[in-house]
């Protein structure tokens, strides 16, 4: 497998978990709620989306549904089924938000440590319910045959092999060019240590991505890596395959979620959330109904987790209760803290670091009977990093983000110089 294929899988994962992490960051980073049950909303989003989009006659499925929303709208035209799927995702997000509303009513008034433990407990209970109630979502057998949006369209071919290669190849190169441009700008802004760190890491990655394949596998590997969007083996003339589409979809959702949260945070609304995080008594004394704000923050964060769940289902093509263990929540906490609590860019960075450690180590050659040891060693490392970061750099790699409310015609631009 070419490195590009591995990276496409990894980046898809990172995009999905980043969206999940951004939802957590809204709760934990900006509002100060320790929701140890965040994974429950990931699960609710995944299951509800899957069931809403699943064909009614799905084989080996014995739960409620499927409601086949894409099939319902397929008559409207080629994009109808996509619309149906999007509607399913919205349904998943709403369901996640509603479940968190039900959870929040009794728990949000509790002390922060009690909130953490009850949230964890409720998530565990919800997971048990999904696992044990076969009639609900097929119990431990999970759901396969999941609806994948636009799957029939792929591999996407625009014509002859050459046309495909030229179009998708150029797009690939354009993305690289943009990344390079962005990196150069960051490099200019960075300090001495930052520059060294950037130079070293960019150098190593390029060595691994561009140089090594060229030496190892020759030009075919190198071409695959450079023209990564183009898959020559997909279809008769090559083209854009479905994995790459899922990557684009996931990155698109992440971008949407990111901007949506940024817009929410960089507003008077976000100001109240942060005030609650620091000292709930103050906004209360100033007349803000903090309980409502906490509830909305919880629901919004849960909805984003739900969207991440919907993407997860499409990416894996199968959901089952044991994919949603509480360790997923803890991983997200770790990622958020590594990157920088209350920093959405930090969440993406932290998630990248986390999954790079978690999955990147697959290139370490160990005999297969030691795979458990390798997996355990990774998690030991991650646990240790979490503690070390909290001690030496509690603000995370990037620290808290800056806030700025965009206003036309305003001279004081918030607090961008903090």
């Amino acid at each position: 497998m070419a490195v590009a294929d591995f990276l496409i899988t990894l980046v898809t994962f990172i995009a999905i978990y980043s969206l999940f992490g951004i939802g957590l960051n809204l709760k934990f980073g900006f509002t100060g709620l320790i929701d140890f049950g965040h994974v429950a909303y990931f699960m609710v989003g995944a299951y509800v989306t899957v069931v809403l989009t699943l064909p009614a006659d799905a084989a080996t499925y014995g739960g409620i549904g499927g409601f086949d929303l894409p099939g319902l709208f397929a008559a409207l035209g080629p994009l109808g089924s996509l619309f149906g799927w999007v509607l399913g995702v919205v349904g998943g997000m709403v369901a996640a938000a509603l479940v968190s509303l039900a959870v929040g009513v009794p728990t949000l008034r509790l002390r922060e440590d009690y909130l953490a433990i009850t949230a964890l407990g409720i998530a565990t209970i919800l997971n048990t319910v999904v696992k044990d109630e076969d009639w609900l979502f097929n119990g431990p057998y999970g759901i396969s045959g999941i609806h994948k949006p636009l799957v029939d369209v792929f591999p996407l071919s625009l014509g002859s092999f050459t046309v495909n290669m030229a179009v998708f190849g150029l797009l690939s190169v354009a993305v690289f060019a943009y990344v390079a441009y962005w990196l150069v700008n960051r490099f200019r802004e960075a300090g001495r240590t930052g520059r060294i760190a950037m130079a070293v890491s960019v150098g190593l990655v390029s060595l691994w991505y561009f140089v090594m394949p060229a030496i190892d596998g020759g030009t075919v590997e190198l071409t695959k890596n450079v023209l990564w969007l183009f898959d020559p083996t997909a279809g008769p003339n090559g083209g854009l395959d479905y994995d790459r589409f899922v990557l684009i979809l996931a990155v698109g959702f992440l971008a949407g979620g990111y901007h949506w949260v940024e817009r929410t945070i960089n507003s008077p609304y976000g100001r109240v959330l942060r005030a609650i995080r620091e000292d709930e008594d103050v906004p209360q004394a100033l007349g803000k109904e903090t309980f409502q704000y906490k509830m909305q923050g919880l629901m919004f964060g849960s909805a984003l987790a739900g969207a991440a769940g919907a993407l997860w289902a499409v990416n894996i093509g199968f959901v089952s209760p044991d994919q949603f263990a509480s360790t997923i929540t803890f991983f997200a906490f770790t990622a958020v803290i590594i990157g920088g609590t209350a920093n959405n860019k930090g969440v993406i960075l932290g998630t990248t670091v986390f999954w790079a450690i978690r999955n990147g180590t697959r290139f370490i050659d160990v005999p297969s009977q030691y795979s458990i040891q390798l997996a355990a060693a990774r998690l030991i490392l991650i646990g240790a990093i979490l503690i070390v970061i909290l001690y030496y750099r509690p603000q995370g790699l990037l620290g808290e983000q800056d806030y700025d409310i965009d206003l036309p015609g305003s001279a004081t631009g918030g607090s961008d110089d903090v």
Partner: protein
């Protein structure tokens, strides 16, 4: 054939409660005095169980030579002591540093979560994920059938021996003896209660509250009387019958946990250092003004709590007859529920909370349709959330 009934569910619940209480004792110490809601406590239980395994059944651990097997009690003692040393390590290398930085409670929660991740995976790394048993003599269950007949009560004990159910005992009590015994037991209990209670009118502090002591003495008297005076069976045609399944294992677990609870309470209430621990929990600044070395107190808290966690781990592993890297983590939720329910400030509270949780788990499993059995932990949790909704500071609060 007599069915196990509500009584059996309650007895099983008390045993489950004891297992939870073992963990809750240590967690409440850490929670109350070190002020860490310790999410690593479940995994400290796991580590303790595996530490005893090292000496009890080293052959099961891949990288260890099979150097023979110590009896479980001896291995447990060594494991518990080693766990204490690990507890000191947690405090010295991690929690003391965060305390010195005045870390807030959220940070402490997440630090303990990181520690939990490390501990669980250390077990996975060294031992792997397979189920392992302790090397110990198998203990058979004895079923006690209580048959209430017109003439009184008949007790029949049965055991499964070599695949067959064998009746091992049959005796009974006529009505007059039952009534007399109960009256006698009540009288003894009440007498102890009266003799023990002092200075009415104040919030007098006792090592054991008089009402509990009186009740316990009454129950003990009834059991002793019942064991000593065994008359002829009073017929085997029951009006009402119920069965309780018990073994020495169960009684040992309950006994060990109650002994640990009592020892901890005596230490906290009567020794100078125990007082210092309680004072630190109450008001850490003032304790320092009175000359208490808070660092020493916290160190001891972690040592004792880790030892209690290890004890709970050994009991859990022995009770469930297998050890897995997840065994402690699955106990974490009921343990937290017990501690918050019981109020984090006293060993008795923690144990009382654990018993409430344990009994409600097993009784609900008995009362609910059979496929709800997997919701045992959910039941514990619903009770906790219910209590917190009414009293957000816990059943007995922090005082």
């Amino acid at each position: 054939m007599v069915d196990a009934g509500l009584l059996d569910a309650i007895v099983q619940g008390l045993i489950t409660g004891s297992i939870i209480a073992g963990g809750a004792l240590g967690l409440s110490l850490i929670y109350n005095i070190a002020e860490v809601p310790n999410f690593a406590h479940g995994d400290m239980i796991t580590i303790g169980a595996y530490l005893a395994l090292v000496f009890n059944n080293p052959a099961e651990i891949p990288f260890l030579p099979a150097f023979g097997s110590a009896p479980l009690p001896a291995a447990a003692i060594v494991g518990v002591v080693l766990a204490g040393a690990l507890g000191a390590a947690y405090e010295l290398t991690i929690f003391r540093k965060f305390r010195q930085k005045d870390a807030d409670i959220i940070t402490m929660v997440i630090v303990s979560l990181g520690l939990a991740l490390v501990l669980r995976n250390v077990v996975l790394f060294l031992v792997g994920s397979k189920n392992i048993r302790y090397e110990s003599a198998s203990v058979s269950n004895t079923n006690f059938d209580f048959l209430v007949t017109g003439a009184g009560m008949t007790v029949r004990t049965t055991q499964r021996q070599a695949g067959d159910v064998v009746t091992t005992g049959l005796w009974g009590y006529p009505w007059w003896l039952l009534a007399g015994g109960l009256i006698l037991a009540t009288a003894v209990g009440y007498g102890v209660f009266r003799a023990y209670r002092r200075e009415e009118g104040f919030d007098t502090v006792y090592l054991v509250p008089p009402k509990i002591l009186g009740t316990a003495v009454a129950i003990a008297t009834a059991i002793v009387l019942g064991a000593l005076i065994q008359l002829a069976p009073q017929g085997t045609d029951p009006i009402v019958a119920t069965r309780i399944g018990l073994s020495i294992k169960h009684l040992t677990i309950v006994g060990v946990v109650l002994a640990a609870m009592f020892a901890l309470n005596v230490a906290l209430k009567t020794t100078k250092f125990g007082r210092a621990m309680r004072a630190t929990a109450d008001n850490m600044d003032l304790a320092e003004v009175r000359g208490v070395d808070a660092d020493r107190v916290q160190l001891l808290v972690w040592v004792i709590a880790s030892m209690l966690a290890a004890l709970a781990g050994v009991l859990t592993g022995w009770f469930a007859t297998n050890l897995t890297p997840n065994m402690g983590f699955t106990l974490l939720l009921p343990i937290f529920a017990a501690v918050i329910l019981g109020g984090i400030s006293s060993p008795y509270g923690a144990v009382a909370g654990a018993m409430i949780i344990g009994v409600s788990m097993d009784v609900s499993v008995y009362l609910l349709p059979s496929h709800f059995a997997t919701y045992r932990i959910a039941v514990a949790f619903l009770i906790l959330i219910g209590v917190l909704m009414i009293k957000p500071e816990g059943l007995w609060g922090d005082v």
